[in-house]
Amino acid sequence: MPLIVAEDLAKTYGKVVAVNGLNLTLNEDSITGLIGPNGAGKTTTIKMILGLLKPDRGNVKVFGQDPWDNTTIRSLIGVVYEKSFFPPHQKTLDYLKRVCRVYGVAESRALEVLGLVNLQEAMDRPIKALSAGMLQKFAIAHALIHKPKLLIADEMTANLDPQARSELLDLILQLHKDEEVTFLLSSHILPELSRVCDSVAIINQGKVWAYGKLNELYEKYAIGIIRISTDNPEALATEIKKLSYIEKLEIDLRGISARVAEGMDEKLYEDAPKLAKKIKAKIFGIETGSASLEELYRLAVRMSERR
């Protein structure tokens, strides 16, 4: 059963169109990344899913219900905002115990979730005394108190150091595996998402431009990427760039990475050795490359901007 179904969602702020005809279906037992540039509409989409904003058009169902002011849904969802705020003068453990009472779970769960995010040493500190990173960990602990079925996080790792980020990603995988928590994660940090997500939705200008299982998307969008390993990448790249069907070309440690127009991969397989011969360069290998999440993201953003 899909946990989230958003159909033709639209939201504007004055003259600014934040979300414009967005469609998204989030399936149970998945870790889905919501990626897109700043102002793409990610946070607005998440807010509409959480029932914090009403869409101007379209509708959203979470667990089959309208999320606006819906207490049933709130019991099933955990939320981590990019910037989380809590009553500042209360102590961390005391506040989490309060949240346990809000949901009717045993107060021992408060210490348990603090342990999950390695924040036990701060249990007696007032919330206002936590650093940005600690506050983000606290927000994650707070979101896990009631063992939610779905956890929605907007830039969850934004304030965390690399070690804490890595631990958090492990925690996400562990919760997904052991407690079957479904995740919707919005982030700018693509390598992180590619580590944990099994699906991604690429959003730009208020629309989803690519959505699906990560491996399927890689397969779909890898068609146009050819990697060429050579002893003289700069010179060969200059020649290849002149070919009319080359859309994008990059040189990295692995050699040349070229995106070609649809259906033209075989042509580059033919042309590249000829060009190498012309400039007296050696080619060690030509292969169809798999797209990285970053490439996938760039492609989708480019597609959206062309339209």
């Binding site: 002011d69 709130r74 019991s75 809000v102 009717g104 779970v105």
Partner: protein, 266 residues
């Protein structure tokens, strides 16, 4: 997962923030100090009153000066900073993740911001009246309560306006400025109304002001006849003005609840 108590916990959390040490202690001290200091002058000021009922009114009204002002500051602070800052900083957004209806969250916040401050204020005031003048107060408890009702409606009306401004702006600082300006504007408007009433020889301006601040009509009802050349209100006028005033207050809060529950986007 058992049955949680989200309302009680959000209320307790709001109390913890609104009345943290030493705010509650300072305000309680100022309430008590203001009440008893003014009470010592109260009976002297009421020597010229014509009836025990008027004396009860004058004694009660004499106690209201500083404590009422402190009460107003208290609820303005709580509405502007308790609710406005919570909206501004995102704490309300956090509360919106709890399994409690939006109206329940607002009720918990307002109960802490206004309800508790009101109970504290009335408890100290009425206790002081019973301690200082039991013979006057006991038989005229209705007059005492009417005096409080008349004097509290305007602060509550401003608090209602502040609630709407807070929800619209989602900010705390500006709201408290608007509240204070509105409160002091009323003093100026009352003075202008008296002037207009005298100049035009018509009580209309006073009657209009009494809808917003029914203490004006109550003061005229209980004060000496020579103050009432322009307008000598009957008791039904007093009830009408107080009732109308509270109707406006209820409407403002109702509108605030409606907006918070149905429209407020965060």
């Amino acid at each position: 997962m058992g049955k949680g108590k989200p309302f009680l916990e959000i209320f307790a959390s709001a109390l913890h923030e609104d009345y943290r040490f030493p705010i509650l202690e300072i305000f309680a001290f100022l309430y008590a100090l203001g009440t008893f200091v003014f009470a010592s002058f109260g009976p002297i000021m009421t020597q010229q009153t014509v009836s025990n009922e008027s004396m009860a009114y004058n004694l009660t009204a004499s106690l209201l000066g500083l404590p009422l002002f402190i009460f107003i500051i208290f609820i303005f602070k709580n509405v502007a900073y308790g609710l406005g800052s919570d909206l501004e900083k995102g704490i309300i957004q956090t509360y919106f993740s709890y399994p409690l209806k939006r109206r329940g969250i607002l009720t918990a916040k307002l109960l802490s911001a206004i309800g508790v401050a009101l109970v504290l204020f009335l408890t100290i005031q009425i206790s002081a009246l019973y301690v200082l003048a039991p013979d006057i107060i006991s038989p005229y408890l209705g007059t005492v309560l009417l005096t409080y009702a008349a004097n509290l409606s305007y602060p509550l009306l401003v608090a209602g306006i502040m609630l709407l401004v807070t929800l619209a702006l989602k900010r705390g600082g500006l709201t408290i400025v608007i509240g204070i300006v509105l409160y002091f504007a009323m003093s100026i408007i009352s003075s202008i109304a008296v002037f207009v009433a005298s100049a035009t020889n018509s009580p209309l301006a006073l009657q209009i002001v009494s809808v917003i601040s029914p203490n004006v009509v109550l003061a005229r009802y209980y004060s000496m006849p020579f103050f009432n050349e322009l307008w000598t209100p009957a008791f039904s006028d007093v009830l009408l003005h107080i009732g109308t005033s509270y109707t406006i207050v209820v409407f403002l809060f109702f509108f605030g609840y409606f907006y918070f529950s149905k429209r407020l986007g965060l």
